[in-house]
């Protein structure tokens, strides 16, 4: 299945918790990736966290599908290649349908200019 990307949030996000969604994933999605662009984080200092929730009843009830956290500044992998984004990926137990909804939040310690992209596979 091809990957479909949706921008959930973009621009200047204030310190504190910012919610995104809900969105309706493409029917048949089996994996969800939440990606935070790091371009605007290079000169910042505060760690940040994010999480996501999934509903299978069109938004009546929600269950966590997990999340992650990272540090600000420039970070690199073991090959010294800069991470251009931080992301978490969750394989779903069953493929999404028309009643599936996705929402989430990011919690910041300082104002950040970034984009949160939801990739659906």
């Amino acid at each position: 299945m091809a990957t479909t990307s949706v921008v959930a949030l973009t621009g200047s996000l204030l310190a504190g918790k910012t919610n995104w969604g809900p969105i309706t994933p493409v029917v048949g999605t089996v994996a969800i990736q939440i990606a935070i662009d790091r371009a605007g984080l290079a000169l910042l200092t505060q760690p940040f966290t994010w999480n996501a929730e999934l509903s299978t009843d069109a938004g009546l009830t929600w269950n966590s599908i997990g999340g992650g956290g990272s540090v600000a500044g420039q970070i690199s992998d073991i090959h010294l290649v800069l991470f251009t984004e931080s992301s978490t990926t969750k394989n779903l137990p069953t493929a999404t349908n028309a009643n599936t909804r996705l929402r989430g939040s990011i919690t910041l310690g300082e104002t950040v200019v970034t984009t949160i992209t939801i990739r659906q596979t």
Binding site: S64, I65, G68, I75, F83, S86, S87, T88
Partner: protein, 205 residues
């Protein structure tokens, strides 16, 4: 005394992260609960874990020594819970957790061991006693995992950067947990979950 029994699992992957939280999963209210948590990361970083807010017991003796990759958590609370792992240096990581019950709370694990992969074959053999349950956590970088020979708990990959898998098998003396790697290299951690003492029998004696 009932044998150690598998309960549930959860997993998640991350890239450029210093912590991961699994989604919510249910831990049943059976007695003598325990969890085995494993992380696969592509750098040398030290992990700490919680399951349902309960901290891990430290690295299991005999498991891979260069990182605290596999650890146990004793008596996680029942109900809807999450597992959390955190470390200091951003990495590509897979986090997996499996929960069990009827596990001896004072010494939940023994016979920890590890084995490096050979080519695309990963295998670890764990010594156990009837009533116990054997568990492995395989971590690899540069490939994905398939064809586990024991009961699958989780199998998650962050592309082809890192992958982690966990299975559980019968406590029948010696149990071999094997996987196939698509590429790359890795290490299998193996551990035996010890059956809880039969307190009723002890009381009669």
């Amino acid at each position: 005394m009932p044998a150690v029994t598998y309960d549930n699992q959860a997993s998640i992957t991350g890239s450029g992260v210093t912590s991961l939280d699994t989604g919510a999963f249910t831990i049943t209210s059976n007695s003598n609960r325990a969890a085995i948590v494993g992380c696969s990361a592509d750098n040398g970083t030290a992990f700490s874990y919680t399951v349902g807010g309960v901290a891990d017991n430290g690295q299991i003796t005999g498991c891979a020594a260069f990182n605290k990759l596999t650890a146990s958590v004793t008596a996680p609370p029942s109900g809807s819970q999450t597992a959390h792992a955190q470390w200091t240096t951003a990495a590509n990581v897979v986090l997996g957790v499996m929960t069990f019950y009827n596990v001896k709370q004072a010494t939940p694990t023994n016979n920890g061991t590890n084995a490096a992969t050979v080519g695309t074959a990963a295998s670890v053999t764990i010594t156990s006693t009837n009533g116990d349950l054997t568990v492995d956590h395989l971590f690899t970088s540069g490939g994905t995992l398939s064809a586990p020979t024991q009961n699958l708990g989780y199998n998650a990959a962050n592309g082809t950067l890192v992958a982690g898998g966990g299975t559980y098998g019968p406590g029948t003396g010696t149990t071999t947990h094997a996987w196939t790697l698509s590429a790359g290299s890795g290490t299998s951690d193996g551990v035996n979950l010890v059956q809880a003492d039969d307190l009723m029998a002890q009381a009669v004696l």
